[in-house]
């Protein structure tokens, strides 16, 4: 069958053979032999490779790319067709034919060149073959062009251009960062594209335009050196980050591609320039040999075109490398991301690719952090950093939890001290074990999400290590189901999984705090005990402790205090509180100095352990104590006043029947009424308007169950700060925060002194009335007892009365200033307090009346 085909082939090509039988047979046998020989059995059957090599050939013959494009088009159409079974073979045939065609037709000069701009060259006389004057083919032979004149001039001076092929070879070296023979980098260590040295000897020069071209090309070589140096440097350096490693890997693969290009170019050049000797500069016009080789071979300008894309790529890489020197980890990703928003699709694509590669280790770390709360970041590249000092403090809970668990009642003194050391570690652990590095956060994540990621991982870590959560495994399983793989190209998916993980982790942490550790119970207990919410308990305690506390501080003993406290708990409704809450309550004395009495140093204390101390940290506890102190004082004044009032009112009715002292007593009662009004209003304001309102806000937040532990801590802090601010009437003015508080305290001490004075007055009245009684008895001649001591003189009475009056007016005046101050207080609640204290403008009208 093939012989039939052969015959038709032979007759098609050689018309003579149609008539000449012997010639035909001869040819057919020869062809048959060739066919049976095994020439050129190429092993590749990859059509892509073949297509590539054809394309390259086409591009060589005509660099404008139109035929290449057309070829790709045709090829794709061909591949779609189902008929042919050996497409590759057919293509190979055509390719082989075309390749050999080119070599055969060389001799003919009849080949129609595909490259339009070089077409006229074939018809030129060999004399004009140097590239410089090829542009004037039409008038070249007729009269001498300027270029001809120039060349003649140079020939006279024995100067000529260095042949381009030599420069080309040097340029290829330059592209690899190696100095060539004629063109060299000024210094190898710190090459600069602008510092090229052109070695011109006396006879050879390089034209300025060529120099400019070489300079352009050398830039790529220079950039290559920098990138390559960076990759090498990083390979050898210890402790280099994973993100940098992956950057290096990406750069390395880019460089490999670059090497491939250089290799292809080199092979192109060597096909143009088969042997070096021919190109010796002494030989005057090497190009003359066959000008057509320039159509397929390499020239500086073509090299420039080939390298064009790589110049851009190298620039990008070099920029990344520069950035990588100064930045680290996430910041590096950030830096690269900065170039992703580029209008140039090439730059965008390159950056995207690079980012995809570079961000892989980042996402691996992120995944671990987000879903299991472990920070696996050996080179500190992540935007979450661990505090090395706190990393070991994970198991605080176990140690301190054991303390309290074994200790049924109130903690001993020594233990309390022990725990105080560990006390603040819960919050410290939460707040500073991991730190957020904003500069390391990749910009494509966004800060809000960065915070969420940070918080999620922190929550998980906290659940895991500080809360010893046994349900942890279940949680983790739930978490890993929600998240797929995280990667740069899927930012929306990333945000989604971050959101879910965040919600789950926060919810879990909330549940743990409120259900497992009963945070709400503790908060309530603090409110009830330290903020005196349990009125009956406070009263009991006041009653039991009052006499003790009036004594100097150094005569008080802790065990007495705790015993009284226990008694107070048992006698009040506090006994119904869960034992876990009650046993945390403790009575304590603050540090006291000489001369202080029990009232000044007594304090209640509520002990919490990890992990609740994350919310109720020591700072918060100090604030609670401060509040307790103030509220306790108010309570004390109140009970003092009410007791005094009871005495006076009751006594006056029963036995104080001294007509001459009645007006004085009346005045005392009015002043005392004023004081009672003041203290009641203060108390009501603190309890109802401040504490309960703040509590309501906190409770609302807790019931919403939104946000993470940070939000919870913040909410509790806001709750506490609000109370401190309003109860202590602190004003925002710097340096005068305690102005109001001091006035109130002064008022308290005035009240106490007044109470003392009235007590004196009471005693005086009592003895006076007893004296008068016995006098009256004597008059009637009844002996009722031993003779009384001489009565206090009017001098004593005046003294006492003046004291009572003095304190009364002092109180009034102080009240006026306080009310005045409160009326201009920036806080609305405090202004309302002023209204209550000075109801119906009592103090205002009094002042006006006075003036």
């Amino acid at each position: 069958m093939s012989s039939v085909h052969l015959e038709s082939l032979v007759t098609a090509f050689i018309p003579q053979a149609r008539n000449d039988q012997s010639l035909r047979d001869d040819l057919i046998t020869r062809c048959g032999e060739i066919l049976n020989s095994h020439i050129g059995h190429s092993p590749e059957t990859d059509i892509g490779y073949l297509a590539d090599s054809i394309k390259r050939n086409l591009l060589n013959t005509s660099p404008n790319g139109v035929p290449t494009l057309r070829f790709s088009n045709l090829l794709s159409r061909l591949l779609e067709q189902p008929v042919l079974s050996r497409k590759h073979a057919s293509l190979l045939f055509l390719h082989a034919l075309s390749a050999s065609q080119a070599s055969v037709s060389k001799g003919h000069g009849a080949l129609p060149s595909l490259s339009i701009p070089t077409a006229p060259r074939q018809y030129q006389s060999p004399r004009n073959a140097t590239p410089s004057d090829l542009s004037s083919p039409s008038n070249g032979p007729k009269r001498k062009s300027k270029a001809d004149l120039l060349r003649e001039y140079r020939a006279k001076n024995e100067k000529s251009h260095i042949p381009e092929a030599l420069l080309l070879r040097d340029t290829l070296y330059l592209l690899q960062g190696i100095s060539g023979k004629y063109v060299q980098f000024l210094s190898v260590k710190d090459p600069d594209p602008n510092q090229l040295v052109f070695k011109e000897d006396s006879r050879h020069i390089i034209s300025a335009s060529t120099k400019a071209l070489v300079l352009r090309l050398a830039e790529v070589g220079y950039l290559y050196i920098r990138v390559d140096a960076f990759v090498r440097e990083s390979e050898g350096k210890p402790g280099i980050g994973m993100i940098e490693q992956s950057l290096c890997h990406h750069l390395q693969s880019q460089l490999t591609e670059y090497y491939r290009l250089i290799a292809v170019l080199e092979s192109q050049m060597s096909s143009t320039v088969p042997d070096d000797d021919r190109l010796d500069p002494q030989q005057q016009q090497p190009q003359q040999k066959d000008s057509r080789e320039q159509e397929t071979g390499l020239t500086l300008k073509r090299l420039d075109v080939w390298i064009q894309e790589w110049r851009l790529r190298m620039r990008m890489m070099s920029v990344c490398v520069e950035g990588a020197r100064e930045t680290h980890g996430g910041a590096l990703v950030n830096l690269i991301h900065g170039y992703a928003d580029n209008g140039d699709p090439f730059v965008r694509k390159f950056t995207d690719q690079l980012l995809e590669e570079v961000s892989k280790p980042f996402f691996a770390t992120l995944h671990k952090w987000l879903f299991s709360g472990d920070l696996n970041d050996p080179f500190s590249e992540f935007f979450v950093a661990v505090d090395p000092e706190l990393a070991h403090l994970q198991y605080v809970h176990q140690s301190s939890g054991g303390h309290l668990g074994g200790d049924g009642g109130f903690g001993g003194l020594g233990e309390a001290e022990d725990m105080a050391g560990e006390r603040d570690s819960g919050l410290k652990l939460w707040e500073s074990k991991y730190r957020f590095h904003k500069e390391m956060l990749p910009a494509f994540v966004g800060e809000a999400f960065g915070r969420k990621i940070f918080s999620t991982g922190k929550s998980l870590n906290f659940i895991r290590y500080s809360c010893q959560d046994s349900d942890w495994v279940a949680t983790r399983e739930k978490l890993s189901n929600t998240g797929g793989t995280l990667q740069y190209s899927d930012i929306a998916g990333l945000e989604r999984s971050i959101d879910t993980a965040y919600q789950i982790a926060s919810r879990r942490l909330f549940d743990i705090f409120f259900e497992k550790y009963g945070l709400l119970d503790h908060l309530l207990a603090l409110k009830q005990y330290l903020l005196l919410g349990h009125g009956d308990f406070a009263d009991q305690l006041m009653e039991a402790l009052g006499p003790n506390l009036a004594r100097p501080a150094n005569t008080l003993y802790r065990h007495n205090l705790t015993a009284t406290l226990e008694a107070a708990i048992r006698q009040s409704s506090a006994q119904n509180d869960p034992p876990d809450v009650v046993r945390r309550l403790d009575a304590r004395m603050l540090e006291y100095s000489h001369g202080e009495i029990g009232w000044d140093v007594f304090t209640l204390e509520y002990k919490v352990d990890a992990p609740i101390d994350t919310v109720l940290d020591s700072g918060a506890m100090v604030k609670y104590l401060k509040l307790f102190n103030h509220l306790w004082k108010i309570k004390r004044i109140e009970s003092t006043l009410s007791k005094g009032w009871m005495r006076i009112a009751g006594g006056a009715r029963t036995f104080l029947r001294l007509q001459d002292l009645n007006p004085d007593w009346h005045k005392v009662r009015i002043t005392m009424g004023e004081m009672i009004h003041f203290i009641r209003q203060m108390e009501a304001y603190c309890q109802l308007e401040v504490i309960e309102c703040s509590w309501k806000i906190l409770l609302d937040f807790v019931q919403k169950k939104e946000g993470d532990l940070d939000a919870l801590i913040k909410a509790h802090r806001a709750y506490l700060d609000r109370m401190v601010k309003k109860v202590l009437l602190s004003s925002p003015k710097a340096g005068r925060e305690e102005n109001m508080l001091n006035q109130v305290r002064e008022l308290f001490s005035i009240i106490l002194q007044f109470r003392e004075a009235t007590d004196d007055f009471y005693n005086f009245s009592l003895s006076e009335s007893a004296y008068r009684d016995s006098e009256r008895d004597n008059e009637r001649g009844i002996y009722t007892g031993l003779a009384r001591e001489p009565r206090h003189g009017p001098h004593t009475l005046n003294d006492i009365l003046s004291r009572v009056r003095e304190y009364g007016t002092m109180f009034s005046e102080k009240m006026q200033t306080l009310v005045q101050g409160l009326q201009t207080h920036p806080d609305l609640d405090c202004r309302f307090l002023a209204v209550r204290l000075s109801f119906s403008d009592f103090y205002k009208s009094r002042r006006e009346h006075k003036s």
Binding site: Q16, L27, H38, L58, R70, F71, L78, L94, Q101, V104
Partner: protein
């Protein structure tokens, strides 16, 4: 079957057209008929590179003959 036959024929024509275009592009200087013959040979399992050599050989032969003729004339 009878309907598929013309289909087959037209697609064969298309393939040949495409191949011819490529051969034009690659400047092989084959006419359509010769190309068809060659492709059918290749489809029959002939080594393509060897076939290329044969075509080359034949062309050269033709040229030589022509030169002879012109010289002889």
């Amino acid at each position: 079957m009878s309907r598929r036959e013309p289909d087959h024929l037209t697609s064969a024509h298309q393939v040949l057209d495409i191949l011819y275009d490529i051969s034009q592009l690659l400047n092989t200087q084959l006419d359509k008929e010769t190309l068809a013959t060659c492709v059918s040979m290749i489809e029959a399992g002939v080594n393509p590179e060897a076939l290329a050599a044969v075509v080359q050989e034949l062309k050269r032969e033709n040229l030589a003959l022509n030169v002879q003729n012109s010289n002889g004339r």
